[in-house]
């Protein structure tokens, strides 16, 4: 956290010495990474302070900040993607230069993740306007989370990454615990213990890496490693990799360390699951990629015995385990959570392939999966809010009563399978081609198998929504359905289905909220986006390829 303050101090220094500089600030791209990290963390205090005096200010503050962040990321993106080769926008925090100071680095990889973070943050925020949760403390945690995620994306310092991992973690635990049922506190505690374990193991790895190289800056660690440290301190570097990888395997929810994730996703409030599912794990997976390719480098991955095999095995095991577990679930949010385990397994396996094309595929799939999961969880939230349905069979007849929600969920789910044209297809395609190029037949086979399994649980959902009549499921829904689509306050859904969940039903009905047009529209926007980006395969490839090239040139 003190790094947050350091960056803020560094940011304010030029303002204090030269107030006229405020006007020029907007045009200095180098300042943007620091602003993107500092502004949301600072703004997190605003809803709480304003909340003492005025009601209902949190949302506007959060929206204004998020929109500003989105605009800032676009400005960085214009700089990073405009020129041909590998471009970086570097900010030295507090003006201290690299080996000792902390750097914030925006390159092709981090910028696309930052775009995903700020874009999804705005989208989810639009949903929470009506869908809830509300309250100034929620928006404070929300902004803290956004700031932490952006910090995690931009940081170029291995230790600083730990600090941001923990900021993100703290905000996430708090947000999950906001769920109405007591279960959410248990889920949050579980996540807290495991998440802290993961981050601590990462810190231990960073410590060993620091012993081996004497640096914390990612670029400097990398060059030191290849200047001899890799040979001299072989054991230290390998041990550090073991700790870092296991730490991230917990954070990214790789099988068998995924156990916190289904609980956390299922028990978090509906407005928050999209954010956590789309961003927190995605950015952790980004951080793993960043450490693998910028810090350790491709050569370490491919040349050290068993490293590549271990990464591939973990990835493949997660793909299979996640898919199979997802098929067996009855709760929609839990099913989607297990599906995340498998999709992140695919990304880790793609990292393990260590070919340029697979790396591009992993990055595209990270972004695509983030968008799809955000949309799907928002869709699940809309359905739960208006229809009271949380389990797959309660989705029966959804297409009839809520055509827009059903269609959006269907589009998103189909793109999760990887059917063109959708961004889900492009990511998988690049990874699959990368696997075939690398002659990793197991990976190719697993991609195919997991696609079949994904189709299995997606088809179940589609079949229930479109071809199972609502009457097959008793009472509750008919009432909800008749009372209209959008504006009716759904009084009671799924009485029979929820009978065994007495306490949950009461929690549900007190939580049941109006489904506004805006909430539906956001889900539809995510659906359109996944399909629209499906046509942008070339553009995405062109945008990310310089980074992959740089990584593999170095190695």
């Amino acid at each position: 956290m003190s790094d947050g303050f350091a960056s803020i101090a560094g940011l304010l220094a030029p303002l204090l010495t030269d107030p006229g500089a405020i006007l020029d600030l907007t045009f200095e791209v180098e300042l943007l990474p620091a602003l993107l990290v500092a502004v949301p963390i600072l703004a997190a205090a605003v809803p709480i302070v304003l909340g003492l005096r005025f009601d209902r200010t949190g949302w506007s503050v959060a929206l204004l900040t998020s929109l500003g962040l989105f605009a800032g990321t676009i400005a960085i993106a214009r700089e990073v993607y405009a020129t041909g080769g590998y471009t970086q926008v570097i900010h030295e925090v507090g003006g201290y230069p690299a080996p000792y100071g902390i750097e914030l680095v925006a390159d092709e990889f981090s910028t696309i993740i930052a775009l995903l973070v700020t874009g999804s943050a705005v989208g989810v925020l639009a949903y929470t306007r009506v869908g809830g949760p509300r309250g100034s403390t929620f928006y404070a945690a929300y902004l803290l989370l956004t700031g932490g995620l952006l910090g995690l994306s931009f940081t170029g310092d291995a230790f600083n990454m730990f600090v941001f991992l923990e900021i993100v973690g703290l905000a996430t635990y708090g947000l999950i615990a906001r769920g109405d049922s007591a279960e959410s506190a248990v889920a949050a505690l579980k996540y807290l213990v495991l998440g802290t374990l993961g981050a601590s193991l990462y810190l231990l790895g960073v410590g060993l890496l620091f012993m081996a190289t004497g640096h914390l800056n990612m670029e400097f660690i990398n060059s030191e490693l290849y200047d001899g440290a890799l040979v001299e301190n072989e054991t230290l570097v390998r041990a550090s990799f073991a700790f870092v990888f296991v730490g991230f395997a917990i954070k990214v929810a790789q099988w068998p360390l995924h156990t916190w994730q289904p609980d956390a996703y299922q028990r978090a409030p509906d407005g928050i699951t999209p954010l956590i599912a789309a961003l927190v794990s995605t950015v952790s997976a980004y951080a793993l990629g960043r450490i693998l390719f910028t810090v350790y480098g491709v050569e370490f991955v491919t040349a050290t015995p068993y490293v590549q095999e271990i990464i591939l095995t973990v990835g493949i095991a997660s793909v299979m385990a996640g898919s199979i577990l997802a098929v067996t679930q009855t709760d929609v949010k839990r099913m989607l959570a297990y599906s995340s385990v498998s999709q992140f397994g695919l990304i880790v396996a793609a990292y393990g392939l260590a070919t340029p094309l697979a790396l591009v595929g992993a990055i595209v799939h990270l972004v695509g999966h983030g968008l799809m999961k955000a949309g799907l969880f928002l869709g699940a939230g809309v359905v739960a809010a208006g229809y009271g349905a949380r389990r797959v069979r309660e989705f029966a007849g959804l297409a009839e009563h809520r055509p827009v929600a059903a269609a959006s969920i269907a589009v998103l789910a189909i793109s999760l399978v990887g059917i063109p044209p959708s961004i889900g297809f492009i990511g998988k395609w690049y990874i699959a081609v990368g696997a075939i190029q690398a002659e990793a037949w197991t990976v190719a086979a697993v991609i195919f198998l997991s696609t079949m399994l994904t189709l299995l649980y997606v088809a179940r959902l589609l079949e229930t929504m479109y071809f199972t009549p609502a009457s097959a499921r008793s009472s509750g829904h008919a009432v909800t359905g008749e009372s209209g689509h959008g504006d009716a306050v759904a009084t009671d859904g799924g009485e029979e289905a929820n009978e065994s969940f007495g306490d949950r039903r009461s929690a549900d009905s007190s939580r049941r909220r109006r489904v506004s047009v805006g909430m539906l529209a956001i889900v539809a926007v995510f659906a359109v986006l996944t399909v629209g980006l499906g046509f942008a395969g070339d553009v995405l490839y062109e945008a990310i390829e310089p980074f992959a090239e740089e990584v593999f040139d170095d190695g």
């Binding site: 600090v163 703290l170 615990a177 213990v193 601590s200 410590g207």
Partner: protein, 124 residues
């Protein structure tokens, strides 16, 4: 030889013992508060590790010396100390959040033990 190894690396040995104790508490202890203490112990072991990494033989504490240009000045590395300071702050915050969650769980379920909690939850 074994003794030499132990005396030379006792800081690391201590760290791994603490690490193991913390991890064991985290996994095996049924009491939620003790679990959180285990997490804290685990982190503290890592802080200790960072502090011992900074040690330089014959090195003095990294403070700017009084004379302008002292000869033969050997300092312990200040960087890990600074890092640990940040990590400690993070650790304290985590413990606080963890304990707050435990308080909420206790208020809802009336128990601090994980096995009882599991029973209560499956009953519902």
């Amino acid at each position: 030889m074994a003794l030499e190894l132990l005396t030379g690396t006792f800081a690391y040995a201590t760290m791994f013992v603490l690490l193991a104790v913390g991890l064991y508490m985290m996994i095996a202890n049924e009491n939620l508060v003790k679990k959180i203490i285990g997490v804290n112990l685990f982190q503290t072991a890592i802080f200790l590790f960072f502090v011992s990494v900074a040690y330089v033989e014959e090195g003095s504490s990294p403070v700017v010396p009084a004379e302008a240009d002292p000869e033969g000045l050997v300092l312990a590395s200040p960087l890990p100390h600074v890092i640990v300071l940040t990590a400690i702050v993070v650790g304290v915050a985590l413990t606080a959040v963890g304990l707050a969650l435990v308080v909420r769980i206790y208020a809802e379920y009336g128990t601090l033990r994980e096995d009882t909690l599991r029973e209560v939850r499956t009953d519902e």
